[in-house]
Amino acid sequence: MDMIGLLGWIPLFPLLGFLILALAGERLSKSAIAWVGVGSVAVSALLAGLVGSEFLTGTLQPYHLALGTWIEIDELSIAFGFYLDALSVTMLFVVTGIGFLIHLYAAEFMASDPVLPPFAIPCRPRVPWELQRPLDRSETQRSSKNTELNANASAFDLGYARFFAYMNLFMAAMLVLVLSDNLLLLYLGWEGVGLGSYLLIGFWYENPHNGYAARKAFVMTRVGDTALLIGLLLLFRQLHSFDIQLLMLRATAHWPAGTLMPVAAAALLLGGALGKSAQLPLQTWLPDAMAGPTPVSALIHAATMVTAGVYLIARTHDVFLLAPPVQFAVATLGAMTLLMAGCSALVQTDIKRILAYSTISQIGYMFLALGVGAWSEAMFHLLTHAVFKALLFLAAGAVILCCHHEHSIFKMGGLRKSMPLAFWSFMIGSAALSALPFTSGFYSKHEILSAVYQVSPNLWAMGCLGALITGIYSFRPVFVVFFGVQSHLVTKSPGWRMNLPLLLLIVLTLFGGLLRLPLDSVFPLVFKVDRQPNLVSLITGAAPFFGVSIAGLFYLSGAFSAQRLAAYRLLNPLRNLFFSGWGIDALYDALFVQPFKALAKFNKHDVIDDLYTMTALIGQWLHLTVSASQTGRIRWYASSMALGAALILAIGRQS
């Protein structure tokens, strides 16, 4: 059987899951919800495995699946089709594989979720009629207790179904994004994941803070999305197609390198990528996005959605090759982001915010790689990062869950013994994050840095400094949370549905570096990775060790104290600056939010509205004037008639 033809079914199953859960989730039992929510992604992952393995064992020729025409107006015809090459296979594996593991994990993680009864969903009154009847006391108590239980159970199921419905919707959109053969369909998926992200960040909407974080993420990414849309339409206007492969061919054929058109198009595409991947000017939403449940942070805000920007740039790399200034901007922004986010990660106390800043920082590495033209290295880092960051988030989720939703790392401690699997997961994930040898992160980051060195030693230096910082911030939570004095009594331990994904991800993290995806079939081969040891690779490899050692000196052995360091007058403001994410939130607040609010306040009573109000007032005035003549007195009317007759006679006489 031709497995590759099953490609079209892959996004369909999560979509079906979403529809089932959205329409009938209220009536399903909890286990049924888990079966539908996880099962749909499992089927997708299975199909993706079959399709991918057939593709990889074949000739690696891109496979194009035309499913039909989406929009057809006159000459404009937008196909609805999927495109499979080594790049989309990579993304497909990441999305479905890690997506499945996280769904499985979430099935347990969310089962004990203390979701309040949702207000937004219209709920029928659940007070039974017995309560209104005077009963003897014990019976009343029993029945009311039953009601409470029932209400709670149904509220659980509702939140549970809602969660998996959103997750499945996100999966469907993400798969459309990575498989799409044209930019418009890609944009559909792009907006779909944005929606999923918004819904899931604000999943616990009882807390207004979460809703605010969701809105912030939505609006910030929308800034980038607008740029992407403009870029997309610019490409269509100039090259008369939405089909990505055709666009790339035409761009290379028609546009000389470095001219205005490719630069403008690449810059606009970059804008979209920056928003979605939380890079420098638009990165502030990601740390706040941690308001969502931890599996969401793992899936959307670490492994898949935030790497969509990297995928987009890799997908349209031909345009970027034609625009060297933009490509240089990609590299510079990436390098700056990885340093800034790394510094912020150093001082955070919330375990998820540390991971969020590290995500921004690691995507900065990917952008750096993209900027220097190391396409396949960037994609490789995307793959390994997705694995170990998912591992870290899931381990963090297990810790958070077992410590009763405690987020601050300084309120945890000594969990090494009581949570061995979480400890080893976090340990190995941090090792991969800081690129210690023999982990997957080592291979990918090493490749990136050696490629960067061949282009620009300055950027390489920044990357190495980043690697040092990475070593510090990734082992800081390890030492703080898992070593030292045990602070929490761990009462519950995760079940198999949480442990299995952790184990599988540990294996992938350790051996993922051996995965060699044939990305060279997609990208032009630019760099020969030099595997001979030299000074550069030595420094590259040693930087993380320094970082880990510093973290150990501060947080494990206690040779230095962060408090003492912070006590210096110069360093404390610096710490605050890092903690606030370089004050960019405050900057944007002053630059955009406050002026906008002031403008809105200034124009509170809309100026344009006054015009319409005036019309209404004139009408009202006329009405009052004329109705005053309606005295209800018959003699007045008769007088009016007489006066009218006199006037008419006068007029008739005149003319």
Binding site: R635, S639, A642, L643, A645, A646, L649, A650, R653
Partner: protein, 169 residues
């Protein structure tokens, strides 16, 4: 002779009408009104409209005025009403409408007098009238009968005792 009679009758008609609109007691007003109508009837006779003159006397001054008499009797207007009417008839009240009406009269006079002069007096007999009435004006006769029927029904309905005060409120 005719002209003298015309002026005399006109004077009576105007005088009776002026008296009628200024009477405080409705019954007195009604009697002056009948006088006015009768003098107009005489004018009709002088103008050669004998049939109209007869109708004026029989129907207007006779039948319709009897209705007024009945109603005035039913309403039983007493001395208090007369006092109130006196209070209502202050110059401040009637001067404005009177000026307006005089303006209208002035305009009509101008229109009439500028229209030139002509003699009247051609006699139209009842037979001529009947031939025209039941010839070209047959439809108008039908409409008039409908109007009278509607008036009859309306008067009956409005005058019913069942529509007492409070019946609908």
């Amino acid at each position: 002779m005719t002209l003298t009679l015309f002026y005399l009758t006109s004077a009576v008609a105007v005088f009776a009408t002026v008296m009628m609109i200024t009477r405080l007691n409705a019954v007195h007003g009604l009697l002056y009104l009948i006088l006015s109508l009768l003098s107009v009837g005489v004018l009709f006779f002088l103008l050669g409209a004998h049939f109209a003159a007869v109708l004026e006397v029989i129907i207007y001054a006779g039948a319709i005025m009897v209705l007024f008499v009945f109603v005035i009797m039913m309403l039983n207007q007493g001395q208090t009403t007369i006092d109130r009417e006196r209070a209502w008839l202050q110059p401040a009240i009637w001067i404005g409408p009177s000026l307006l009406a005089l303006l209208l009269f002035g305009e009509m006079a101008v229109v009439i007098l500028f229209g030139g002069s002509a003699e009247t007096g051609s006699v139209v007999t009842a037979k001529q009238l009947g031939m025209v009435l039941y010839g070209p004006y047959l439809l108008a006769v039908e409409l008039a009968s409908m109007l009278l029927l509607a008036g009859l029904v309306g008067a009956y309905h409005l005058g019913k005792p069942a529509l007492k005060s409070g019946a609908r409120s």
